[in-house]
């Protein structure tokens, strides 16, 4: 269990490193609501892609005691289209949108204004081909062909490392019991997760999915479809606000991810469970996990 907590902490530190804690937060705190949304939208898409992955590797939920602890690693591919968005510079510059870097992009665009004045839109801060994440997960069941899934992690202490609060809960129900002679097992599930990092980012993730699987000796093939709804709340004091603006920014925006298809493999070796899957939707996500339990 400890190693899984380390995994989560390490992955958070990679995407939200020491020093970059303030770097990312400082970068966001310069942005108006619209610009912050565009700047962070690919991050939310990737983050939500990860968070809504890796819940389970089988649709077989029989009425027998199950307890399993897993460490889940996820990675969302970051395409080149996630590196730019259209931003509007502040006055007195033209209010026409300008193509510039998202958080995953490189240099911000320099706009020209009156009297030779210039303004540089925010630089990108993260250089990634994919966004990684890891999380610990506990599965407990099965009662009435139903199991509960928990994700939990909390860290608060070292001032150089952002505080992290993750809580997730899900429920899965085996529906094969309602049908006879099905060639596959079928399950449905829903999950809610909350993930707060640092001082200004707070995210919520909801997903509902249907899964089918079939066992082949030690190996299970599984697949499914999932609907998901994710939001990110940003809460900060806008640096450089005008007297007409409310400097206290507090807003939420939605992930572009809504539907995904899932396909994966699950290998069960006694108490050891290994699985990996690919998720195809608005973003592409790989997940892999190692678990121990029954």
């Amino acid at each position: 269990m400890k190693s899984s907590f380390i995994l989560l902490a390490v992955s958070i530190l990679f995407i939200y490193p020491v020093n970059a804690q303030n770097q990312l937060e400082d970068a966001i705190s310069q942005l108006s609501v619209d610009n912050a949304t565009g700047y962070m939208q690919p991050f939310l898409n990737g983050f939500a892609g990860n968070m809504n992955s890796g819940f389970a590797g089988s649709a077989k939920i029989e009425n027998r005691f199950t307890i399993r602890f897993e460490a889940i690693g996820m990675a969302t591919l970051i395409g080149s289209d996630a590196e730019q968005f259209d931003a509007v510079p502040p006055a007195p510059f033209s209010q026409q949108p300008v193509r510039t870097a998202t958080v995953f992009g490189d240099q911000g665009t320099v706009v020209q204004g009156p009297e030779g004045l210039t303004y540089k839109l925010q630089d990108g801060q993260l250089n990634m081909n994919y966004l990684p994440l890891a999380a610990p997960q506990l599965t407990i069941g099965n009662f009435f062909n139903t199991q509960l899934i928990f994700r939990f992690f909390s860290y608060s202490g070292d001032s150089d490392v952002p505080d992290i609060d993750l809580f997730g809960v899900g429920v899965r129900h085996g529906v094969s019991q309602y049908f006879s002679d099905l060639p596959v097992d079928i399950a449905a599930g829903m999950f809610f997760q909350s993930f707060k990092i640092g001082d200004i980012i707070d995210s919520n993730f909801f997903s509902i999915n249907g899964m089918a699987s079939r066992d082949f000796s030690l190996l299970t093939l599984y697949g499914g479809i999932q609907y998901e709804y994710s939001t990110m709340n940003l809460n900060y004091t806008l640096s450089g606000a005008t007297s007409d603006e409310d400097a206290e920014i507090d807003f939420s925006f939605r992930s572009d991810n809504h539907l995904r298809a899932i396909a994966g493999l699950n290998l069960k070796l006694g108490l050891l469970h290994l699985r990996t899957d690919f998720n195809l939707g608005n973003v592409s996500v790989f997940s892999a996990s190692i678990g121990f339990g029954i």
Binding site: S3, L7, N19, D26, Q30, G73, P114, K120, P132
Partner: protein, 189 residues
Amino acid sequence: MKSQRKTLSGLLLIALIAISCDDIVRSNLVMIDTVSLFTYSIDTADNNYSETERVNLQSVIDDIDSSVEDVSFFNITMRVSNIYDSSPETSFSGQLSVSQAGSNQSQAIVTFNNIKFEDFFTERSIFSDDIEGVSVVSDGISTLADFYNRRPVPLVDFTVEGTVNRAGGEERVVFDLEVRVYVQVATDP
């Protein structure tokens, strides 16, 4: 044995993530916007006014924890924040000028002619074309830009001076004029 397996698996995953995530934080700058705000409280019994505010432009840099690579201003705005008992129809003319503290050589940044108080109840950029009678002085803009390029950035006197044209029957014309200088600081975190 179980705990060894878990630790080994964890370390392998961490190593995989670490190897593949080298240099994931860009060495780019973080652009930080700040505002220098100073307010002139003008109270004149005749038609003339002149007020000076000494501003420590270096404080923009000193307030930032990170290493500062570049400082430049990108906007100057004015707003009449309070007119007390003066008429909103009262207008003012004059200029905002800048000089290094202690120097008697000032350079106008902007001139304004017959601007009604009510037209400046909302913050307005001196670069905006919305209001007639406001003219930016290029040499003054260059002078201020040059101040921001110096290290340390010097103390600067901003002076607003000119005349008022009463619209009401008030004995004194009293108003507060806010000036904001918007600055962008490139920092290396």
